[in-house]
């Protein structure tokens, strides 16, 4: 047993340092993005950067609170947390406030709170709890179904509030399930389905089907033990149906703005003039954000010196597009360092998760790493034009209280769990 005075040394300080690095650098960039030309007033709370300072202060309070609670508390009450967050998501349908087309906020006075930011943590806890139960077998289909249920329920509620970006985050749990033994076939099917969908959109139905048939049949005829001909035929048929459905949804059911984003991402518009026009109008954000990043060059324009940042050329720059500020003002050096710090943090969480003796802690840690990874991947990928525009915040960086607190809770519950592994014998 460790002595009482040594207890706080059990926390993984590397993770905590990385966390504060990101939050601190994030704030510097929010300051730059939301300030334009006039003097900096830290305590004028009409400025976003001043508000964010409060949010950061409150999150420190949160951290102390989370770390002071008993580690077992989180495991034991995980179902309660899950239930509360589901109720709060449902409650949005009645009390929710609509901001930017999504009904994802509770408004208390001038303060707004976004329950979906906390639902991720709750879901992570619930998945870890259910999966670590001795009676759960991930190989059994019924348990797989129940796990999917736990994940899909909040995701569905968020989708119904028209926040497609946050819904996508729940795909992070796939990594957790896979790590814990979800059969290989799911991964294969998932990857193939994504490839098939992209191909169906980009190259059309006929080419996609021909290529699929060719691959499937080649595979079939080169096998030593050849199963009945029925099997490849079904695969081709299902592929065809999927490809058709994807195209059909893209053409008829997808909201216009989402359709356009995909069109631009995959360059589906044949007419180059029209495509360029689309880039300047529909993909205005993306166009401006790429320009801002590229404007930074190797060394960047310097703190508060980014011309496109100062001129507010990039909309939503202090929230989802915060990385453009890094790109313009800190250049290739600053952006690369930011990417590296993110990668280090995620990798550190994975390493910590892997060394957990307690199954619950390991699975929760894995969920934390996956969620952070999905956010990091989608946000920066979007800002740099690698994937279609999906509006989700960059963890610890983007402006916003709910987001910051959500990620703080998510990460620090794990740090607490990790600090407790010594007691898990």
């Amino acid at each position: 047993m460790l002595r009482e005075t040594d207890r706080h040394f059990k926390f993984d300080w590397l993770t905590i340092i990385l966390f504060f690095l990101l939050v601190g650098f994030g704030w510097v960039n929010i300051l730059s993005a939301s300030h334009s030309g006039d003097a900096i007033e830290l305590f004028n709370f009409s400025h976003s950067y001043s508000k964010q300072l409060i949010f950061i202060g409150l999150s420190v309070v949160l951290i102390i609170f989370i770390l002071s609670l008993e580690a077992k508390f989180y495991e034991r009450f995980s179902s309660i947390f899950y239930l509360i967050s589901i109720v709060s998501l449902v409650g949005l349908f009645i009390f929710g406030k609509n901001i930017n087309g999504a009904t994802s906020w509770y408004a208390i006075g001038s303060m707004t709170l976004q329950p979906s930011e906390f639902a991720k943590t709750a879901t992570a806890l619930a998945v870890a709890k259910y999966l670590s139960d001795l009676n759960t077998d991930i190989k059994s289909f019924s348990d797989q179904l129940k796990l999917f249920g736990i994940i899909v329920l909040p995701a569905l509620l968020i989708l119904l509030q028209k926040d497609a970006g946050s819904t996508l985050v729940y795909s992070a749990f796939f990594f957790v399930l896979y790590r814990e033994g979800l059969p290989q076939i799911y991964l294969v099917i998932a990857v193939l389905a994504v490839l098939l969908s992209i191909s169906a959109l980009k190259f059309g139905l006929i080419i996609t089907l021909l290529v699929t048939a060719f691959i499937v049949l080649t595979h079939h005829f080169t096998r030593k033990k050849r199963p009945s001909f029925f099997q490849p035929l079904v695969v081709i048929l299902i592929s065809g149906a999927l490809a058709f459905t994807v195209r059909f949804i893209y053409q008829n059911f997808l909201p216009v703005h989402q359709k356009d984003r995909i069109t631009i991402w995959l360059s589906l518009e044949k007419d180059p003039v029209k495509l360029k026009q689309m880039k300047q109008t529909i993909a205005y954000n993306l166009n401006e954000s790429e320009k801002a990043i590229s404007n930074g060059g190797f060394a960047g324009k310097g703190f508060l010196q980014g011309t496109r940042t100062t001129g507010n050329f990039v909309p939503e720059q202090h929230t989802d597009y915060i990385f453009t500020t890094v790109g313009e003002e800190w250049g290739f050096i600053g952006s690369t360092l930011t990417v590296i710090v993110f990668v280090l943090l995620i990798v550190r969480v994975i390493i910590l998760a892997e060394r957990q003796k307690n199954q619950f802690s390991r699975m929760y840690g894995y969920a934390v790493a996956s969620i952070l990874f999905i956010h990091f991947n989608i946000n920066i990928g979007m800002v740099m034009g690698l994937i279609p525009t999906i509006g989700i915040p960059l963890p610890f960086f983007s402006y916003g209280g709910s987001g910051l607190w959500g990620f703080t809770i998510l990460l620090f519950i794990f740090i607490k769990l990790d600090s407790n592994r010594i007691n898990e014998w």
Partner: protein, 641 residues
């Protein structure tokens, strides 16, 4: 394996992101230049453009302020439109029109509301301007021509076009650049260096302060003043004499190559290309395809030189030793060559030596000389190349490489030039027209003036140029070094004596000026045009070259008057008067002056466009201008003196 899948993904994504950053920020970073960054507005601070003075220090071109009323539609507050319109001298309809146009362009950006306010209007408006929110006055600088002369010399400035911008990155859209004349050739000296201010913009294109507190801003540097070689008084006099005529006059100071006067007629008032009416007036001048006022006839007009070119043949014949000054050639009212005949106005049986040949401009004499030059060598092919080389050493047949904005090569043929027409055989008889300055020979007035200067100098010339001095700078060395011709000094004397005789007893004897020893040569050049694709002969061009005084030449001049008939009729008079004006400063031959001012060639120029058959040369009557118009010209003349 399952343990590492997420780890693997994270690393891969990190690498992809860094790769993308590398592409966006290092390899494809396109906005490093602050000029290209559309978040930065570049504001230019234009310096004073240099002044232009004439050789005697008389100010020719300066600057004048011009005031534009600007509007930012978004900032406009309700106003007393009636009063505002009356101040701007527009009506309410125009006001709304202009306002809507500006708002349509951009509600946040300034647009020109009324341009080029008159100075008086500006004074009144300035006091009341504070009442009209959203409007302000912007000062601009325009060129001011202090005289009405020398439009073709001074040139004008106008907005740069896309070609100028592509050629020199100093220029940006909206900048002004010299378009013609001295303004164009000394653009780099006159313009100075503009100052640049960088201003940070926001997404609405509004200014939000200096970029990096003005760290990169530069101050403008004023343009330098220049002095040109033109004598404003002589230039004005020449332009007046050429009223109602078409053609060019070039006067050169032989000792320096400085151009004293450069007249191109018809001309225009340079002030008409300044300010509000620039584009309207320019279009009018540009579209005048008959009189072509923008065509600088003294530099660009390529004409057959006619008889003055006989001087060249005389010089070459002496240099090549195929004629001696005293040898006589008999003229039979012309001369036979091969089985053809070239006419001449000499009485049949007249025997001319070189001096008489020049004095009488005898075709027979120069045809003989020309044929002897070509036949001196084994064949005429070698001969004509020798001949061509001599001629070109006078600066004919090529660009003069001077500081004038336009120019023409003219044409001095050699054997190669004829190789298409005469691929095999080539005899001296084939090209005899060159002997009398017709046929394939063609020159511009400035080349002829330069040739005359070279004769006056007895064998060398300075490249004719227009720059006298540059404030705090020197003029190019090439303008100060003499160019030697291939004719030796002693061979000039008989030719100059011949030219002197032209004035004494020859074709220009009626143009004598008291107390000035002038050497000259007349020219009468046949010319043709196409009317409805029929080759039609027009009245001959009147040409004259001269220099004076004979032994200490101070001025060499070439005058070209289109369709003026014979040499001394128009061109000779102009040349004599300009020489007198330059050397004496006053005119004794006012009879010549009156004659020139009272006679017009406009009816002659109208003939080819009349659509009717017409007569030429001797069968026509010279147009005399109405007395009131003549009095007006006389008045102008009195103002000059």
């Amino acid at each position: 394996m399952r343990k590492y899948i997420l780890f693997f993904f994270v690393i891969i994504v990190g690498i992809i992101f860094i790769g993308r950053l590398l592409y966006l920020q290092v390899f494809n970073s396109h906005a490093q230049s602050i000029y290209d960054d559309n978040a930065i507005r570049t504001v230019f601070n234009y310096p004073k453009r240099g002044f232009v003075y004439d050789r005697n220090g008389k100010l020719l071109v300066s600057n004048q302020p011009s005031y534009d009323v600007m509007v930012i539609p978004r900032d406009v507050k309700p106003l007393d439109t009636l009063e505002f319109c009356s101040l701007l001298k527009i009506n309410k309809e125009q006001f709304l029109n202009k306002y809507n146009k500006a708002r349509h362009y951009s509600p946040r950006l300034p647009s020109v509301f009324v341009s080029h306010l008159a100075k008086e209007d500006y004074a009144i408006l300035q006091e009341k301007m504070r009442k009209y929110k959203g409007f302000y006055i912007q000062k601009r600088s325009l060129r001011k021509y202090e005289t009405n002369i020398g439009a073709n010399v001074l040139g004008d400035i106008g907005e740069v076009n896309s070609r100028d911008i592509a050629k020199d990155n100093y220029y940006h859209s909206g900048d002004l650049i010299g378009k013609q004349g001295v303004e164009a050739s000394y653009e780099n000296i006159l313009r100075g260096q503009k100052g640049i201010k960088f201003i940070q913009k926001d997404i609405h294109n509004q200014d939000i302060g200096p970029y990096k507190n003005g760290k990169y801003d530069t101050l403008p540097r004023a343009g330098k003043d220049i002095k040109i070689t033109i004598d404003a008084d002589l230039q004005a006099y020449g332009e007046l004499l050429m009223t109602n005529k078409r053609g060019g006059v070039i006067a050169i100071e032989p000792k320096t190559g400085e151009i004293l006067a450069m007249v191109s007629a018809p001309t225009y008032n340079p002030n008409s290309l300044v300010g509000r009416n620039r584009s309207k007036n320019f279009t009018k001048l540009f579209n005048d395809s008959i009189a072509k006022p923008l065509f600088n006839r003294s530099l660009q007009g390529v004409y057959e030189p006619g008889s003055p070119f006989k001087l060249m043949n005389a010089l070459i014949a002496l240099e090549e030793n195929v004629m001696s000054p005293n040898e006589k050639v008999t003229c039979y009212h012309g001369i036979k060559y091969g089985n053809r005949f070239m006419g001449c106005h000499c009485p049949s049986g007249k025997r001319n030596d070189m001096i008489e040949g020049i004095e009488e401009s005898c075709n027979a004499y120069f045809l003989t000389a020309y044929r002897r030059i070509l036949d001196k060598y084994e064949n005429a092919s070698v001969g004509i190349d020798k001949w061509s080389k001599h001629v070109k050493s006078f600066g004919l047949g090529n660009y003069l490489n001077n500081d004038l904005f336009v120019g023409q090569k003219g044409r001095i043929p050699d054997r190669e030039y004829y190789s298409y027409q005469y691929p095999k055989t080539f005899y001296s008889t084939y090209t005899v027209s060159n002997a009398i300055g017709q046929g394939e020979v063609a020159t511009t007035p400035i080349q002829l003036a330069n040739m005359t200067a070279a004769i006056a100098n007895r064998g060398f010339y300075f490249t004719p140029h227009i720059i006298k001095s540059i404030e705090g700078d020197t003029i190019p060395e090439s303008f100060k070094t003499p160019k030697y011709t291939s004719i030796s000094k002693e061979n000039f004397e008989p030719v100059i004596e011949g030219m002197h005789q032209v004035y004494k007893t020859g074709t220009a004897s009626s143009l004598k000026i008291k107390d000035i020893e002038i050497c000259g040569k007349t020219g009468t050049v046949e010319n043709f045009t196409r009317i409805d694709s029929v080759r039609t002969q027009l009245t001959d061009h009147s040409i004259f070259v001269a220099f004076a005084p004979k032994d200490d030449p101070k001025i060499a001049i070439a005058v070209f008057v289109e369709n003026g008939y014979w040499g001394s009729r128009f061109a000779g008079k102009v040349a004599s008067l300009m020489i007198e004006k330059h050397l004496k400063g006053e005119i004794t031959r006012t009879d010549l002056e009156d004659w020139l001012l009272s006679h017009s060639l406009e009816n002659e120029y109208a003939k080819p466009y009349s659509g009717k058959p017409f007569k030429i040369n001797g069968q026509t009557e010279l147009q005399v201008i109405p007395p009131e118009e003549f009095n007006k010209l006389k008045q102008k003349l009195n103002q000059l003196n």
